[in-house]
Amino acid sequence: MLETVNLTKTYKDKKAVDGIDIYLDKGESVGLLGPNGAGKSTTISMISSLLKPTSGDVRLNGESKIKDPSEIRRVLGVVPQEIALYEELSAYENLKFFGKIYKVKKDVLENRMQEVLEMVGLKERQKELVKTFSGGMKRRVNIAAALLHQPEILILDEPTVGIDPQSRNHILETVRKLNEEHGTTILYTSHYMEEVEQLCNRVYIMDHGKIVASGSKNELLSILSSEDTIQVQLSKTSDAIIEKVKGMEHVRRVDETSDGIRIISKKGSNILSDLVHVIENENSQISHFQVEIPSLEDVFLHLTGKTLRD
């Protein structure tokens, strides 16, 4: 349905987005994961035609939409990262304004407004000024404004940043319903791995403007299928311990954690006896030991060398 081909954006000499290829099939829910500065928002801006790519293409149903983005704008609903609302107006007035801007027919608009307000759980408070709302409620109105014209594809740019758990759950539930019950295609960017795991069928992982991995959750987890992640809680951690563990056979990576170390080793390799020996030699003791089942967070860490919140 929607795809990007070798999409690139260069600012002076710096490539913010470097030749990315992503696609969204009709009815899919796709996650775009990446740390700050990975190029997610720039990618979204290019897909939604707000920003002209330096090179590459954005295609809707196989047709390039770079020169004439009117059709792509018609089928897209974009929920920006910032609260793009008039805070001096009520939720109702904001939606009425955006409905008129999107040329929703007068006789349809009122019903449609009530529908989206119901969807985001703000029907009872529609007459209140947006400036009196909590951060979470503002974000819900922000989403509602993008739904008025019944877009086929909804792009959400980190819609749950800095909000309370209740609003967050409400937003996730709204997005899930839109995808599952209304068949809306979703492109969801987030810092929060668990949100993407919960909502998306497929995930793209971005770092430094490039797609470093993509696939379904199981496909991504299989990247780590040849490895074990071992959490070791220590009475004392030192550089010497880390260096010696790194030098052990079958160990591929060692990271320091708040209370010990995390080891990524070859799957099935028995490193425990050697590990105990190394740690005791450095006058430390193991207080807790756990072999973890890998998560997407581990995949992300493995691919980018940093956590999503870095």
């Binding site: 600012y11 707000l50 609260i83 793009a84 609302l85 008039y86 001096e88 955006f98």
Partner: protein, 366 residues
């Protein structure tokens, strides 16, 4: 365009206090600084401290009062000085044999008018002395006066409509100045809505909608125009019909107001383009605007600013042209073609500023 216009209106409808405050401010400033009765009833104390003080005082008071709407009164030095220092009078004059000094504690426009009057008399007297080469010019003065009873050539000056040329009315000038000046703030803060929308992300939402970019700009700018225009027209109507001022042909004043508003909206757009963010605009715009009437000479009698560089800079802003056109309508009963030049200049400023301003605003996103 209509929804954008209406959204701005809905926002302001919730807090109309700003506009009401600006309307009140225009009227208050004019009443305080521009009441024209001040200028027709001014009495100025004069005194001398020379050894022949009485002789000097009598000589100059007679000459000063000869042809002036200001009344010069001989006063005791101590009283004249205390009146000024305690704010009862704006100015007193210390007279000397061939010179004078202004005693003042402020810099009100009225003082410049007084100085103009006094300087005119002293200059004339100095010329007469230069011609006769003696101190007593009374004989020559009488001779000239007799001669002027039946001059060989008589030049009569009339206004365009045939009547007497009206005197410059500083109160009227300040009425227009304050109204136009305060409206600059209203217009500027409305135009800044474009920068606010850009920063908040609303602009991007509008761009993604089927509404054209031209319509989005038109909605914002038209609203800024209407608010500024409405504010000025209300103030003029209050002056004309409530406070009893005669501001001339109201139709013409309204047309000049409309062109001035258009030009000021464009100027604000240019500054919005330079500032790029609402915060910077709120810093730059209120810093520039108060300088404009000063450079344009709007607080001073015509001709006070003679520096050609300042005059050039003043002419780059619409205020001086609007003031010129409004004064010609209010005081000299000017006809449409009489103020075509200032109208054209304001339109030119408007077109250039709008073109450059929109271009600069559009460059924000790179």
């Amino acid at each position: 365009m209509y929804p954008v216009f209406m959204a701005q209106w809905m926002k302001d409808k919730r807090k109309p206090l700003t506009i009401l405050l600006f309307i009140g401010l225009s009227i208050l400033a004019t009443v305080i600084f521009g009441d024209n009765t001040q200028y027709s009833q001014t009495t100025v104390a004069v005194f001398s401290t020379e050894s022949n003080a009485q002789e000097i005082e009598e000589k100059w008071v007679e000459l000063l009062n000869e042809d002036s709407h200001i009344e010069f009164v001989i006063t005791d030095e101590e009283k004249a000085r205390s009146d000024v220092s305690e704010g009862r009078r704006e100015v007193a004059i210390l007279l000397m044999e061939r010179d004078y000094r202004l005693i003042t504690a402020s810099d009100m426009p009225n003082i410049q008018l007084v100085e103009q009057e006094v300087q005119k008399v002293f200059t004339k007297e100095a010329r007469l002395e230069a011609v006769t080469s003696i101190e007593d010019t009374s004989e020559l003065r009488e001779e000239v006066d007799d001669y002027m009873e039946n001059p060989p050539i008589k030049v009569e000056t009339q206004s365009l409509t045939g009547g007497e040329i009206p005197q410059h009315n500083m109160g009227m000038q300040l009425l227009f100045t304050f109204t136009l000046f305060v409206a600059m703030f209203t217009i500027g803060f409305k135009v800044n809505g474009i920068n606010s929308d850009k920063i908040s992300g609303i602009w991007n939402r509008l761009i993604l909608s089927p509404v054209s970019k031209t319509s989005i700009y038109a909605g914002h700018l038209l609203y800024s125009f209407f608010v500024g225009f409405f504010q000025m027209v209300i103030v003029f109507l209050i002056f004309q019909y409530v406070m009893g001022y005669d501001i001339g042909n109201l139709q013409m004043i309204i047309v000049i107001t409309a062109v001035y508003t258009l030009s000021t909206v464009s100027m604000a757009m240019l500054i919005a383009g330079v500032a790029k963010t609402p915060e910077k605009f709120n810093m730059i715009y209120p810093s520039i605007v108060p300088i404009i009437p000063v450079i344009s000479g709007a607080y001073m009698p015509p001709g006070t600013i003679s520096n050609s560089i300042l005059q050039f800079i003043g002419n780059l802003f619409p205020l001086s042209h609007a003031l010129d056109a409004m004064m010609s309508v209010a005081l000299y009963d000017a006809q449409w073609n009489d103020f075509a030049l200032p109208i054209s200049l304001m339109l030119l400023i408007g077109v250039v500023s709008m073109g450059v301003g929109i271009n600069m605003v559009e460059r924000v996103k790179g």
